[in-house]
Amino acid sequence: MKRFIFCLSLWLASQTLDAESALQQLYDAGGSPPEVPMPQLKTQPYNSGSSSTAPSQTPRSTSPKPSRAPSPAATVGATVFGALLESVLFDAPSNEPDPETLRQQEEQQRQAQEAAKRQEQEAQKQHQNLMHSFKSVPVVTTTTETTTPSSGLSFKTAQTLKETKIDTSSDEAMRESASRPFDGGASHTALPATWKPYPLGKTPVSFSKPSILCQNKTCTWPKVTPLNATLPKATVRHTPINLSQIGIPTAPNPSMLLKTILTSKEQDATQFYVILNRLSYLGKEIGKELVTSIAMKLLESTPVGEKIALMKEVHDLATNDMEDANKVALWLGSTQIDQPPEITSLAEDAKPFLIRGISASESFEKLSELISDTNDVFDMSAKFSDIIKNMP
């Protein structure tokens, strides 16, 4: 009989607590119904082994009962429950247990609770120790620090941010701070500046109007129109561009002028031009290496060693100052060989070389001397000088 009454009362109480209303009430109340102990859930320790079930159940049984206004069903249930309980109590006064037994039971319960609490505290302590013993992971740290413009930096700037912490001083403060957005609500302002997203199409996307998901136990999920955005296709170039076919720009281009100079004696114009173009894009060190090797090859077979040296000079100029490079290139292309332009970006000792390199074209012997003198500017190898010396 008692069991039946208990089941009946449980069933009636459960009528007021069905799942949807729990969700709804949670959200209606701004995410925190008052009876809920907010951050501290009554949870079961999972790492305290097989003995974990007993201690965790004890505190759960003492959790506060819901305190919201009861529904009519609950009121009826409570009335019936009260009446039945009354009848049961009055029916069986003789079965009242001995006060001594009751006291012993209470004592046992208290001891069990204390033991459970102790165990829980121990588990907590053990867990905290574990958390504090976080181990640093040995990693192979990459050395490409200079090429990471975003990772470390913006990650780092976030160090100054103020964390939104849940205020647990009172129920009211807890609810208030819990309903505040985690990011303070200002994050979207950083969005367009950081992402620079590429809009796909011009049609704005409108979300569907808010509708109640579940009414009368039926849930309706709103329809949605598919996004018909086509992604811009990334193009991969497979055909090489014929650089020599690019029109001559109105402003003098050092590379174009050099090409003109070099092709005056050299047949394979396109090849030279491509080499020059590539050189101008390569790093300084690689460029030097390449220029040295190319120059050596050319000097072995052709009589344009003098101009190769100039090519290197102009290339260096171009990496330093495009304006000066233009001046030199113009000058090289002109007939006014005795009036060198005034350049500002090169080292002082490069100037005499430039001037004399052109005018003193009498002998390769002299050129080689010049090159060895200005080795620090040119950084040419001794082999380079030897080749020039041995030339006819």
Partner: protein, 255 residues
């Protein structure tokens, strides 16, 4: 003997894929005694905020910063999140529902199988489907809005402000109401994206793949840590990574 073989296998595995970390970051892992308690599931999820560090395991939602679990009886949840008040919300058996006092209270049935959920602004939820082409919904506990239906399954989604950023196999996209869909980063022939997280202060996006975690900022994608991956979350100026294949939880912190 069995343990010896397993440890040898693990050491070989770790030798095969060394963990590389970008400069100015430190990497920490959880104590072994703690992560060994987790019954890992391959599609694990991570949730970190003021309500604690939670992880989706095979049969429960486990709290890692304190000993705790959400479900009294083991149940297989496919996705979960936490409300601002600290209540877990999970998808179990394709039903969305709250977990209160260790009991799952099943709520509305989702329109299809395979849905996942993620926390949104102001105690809302985003529901999306990583397995098939399906709409993205926003749910506030009572009212629902359909956001959009991308033409590829949404692999990962993260809310930022009142908008979302989501990843498909084609790229990472940003979507805000009454604005056209915007492409943040095209990613054709990229590794499958498992998780997205956003630094809400700087809008820096973190992209998790099975074996690498990237940072995406100002249209530059930089690997922050390679050799580990999986589910990621950003909180407390740290990047939290749960790698189910390595059975470990990592924290990446700027130095």
């Amino acid at each position: 003997m069995k343990y010896l073989i397993i440890s040898i296998l693990f050491s070989l595995l770790s030798y095969a894929s060394p963990i590389e970390l970008a400069p100015k970051l430190t990497l920490n892992s959880m104590p072994k005694a703690l992560v060994d308690k987790i019954d890992w599931c391959q599609n694990t999820q991570l949730h970190v905020d003021a309500n604690g560090l939670w992880i989706l395991s095979q049969t429960n939602l486990l709290r890692l910063d304190k000993p705790g679990k959400a479900l009294m009886a083991p149940l297989h949840a496919t996705s979960f999140s936490l409300t601002k008040s600290g209540h877990p919300i999970a998808i179990i058996d394709d039903r969305l529902g709250l977990i209160r006092h260790g009991i799952f209270l099943p709520g509305p049935k989702l329109p299809d199988t395979g849905y996942s959920l993620v926390q949104g602004q102001n105690d809302t939820l985003y529901v999306y489907n990583p397995q098939k082409i399906a709409p993205i919904y926003r749910f506030d506990g009572q009212t629902i809005r359909s956001i959009a239906q991308p033409n590829q399954p949404v692999l990962a989604l993260s809310a930022l402000g009142d908008g979302i950023v989501f990843a498909t196999k084609e790229g990472i996209f940003a979507l805000q109401e009454n604005k056209p869909l915007a492409l943040v980063m095209p990613l054709s022939e990229f590794e499958p994206i498992t998780s997205l997280a956003v630094n809400p202060q700087t809008a820096e996006i973190f992209v998790g793949t099975p074996h690498t975690v990237y940072s995406l900022n100002a249209n530059v994608m930089v690997p922050l840590v390679s050799g580990i991956g999986g589910a990621i979350a950003f909180y407390d100026n740290r990047l939290w990574i749960a790698d189910a294949s390595l059975r470990q939880v990592y924290i990446v912190t700027p130095q």
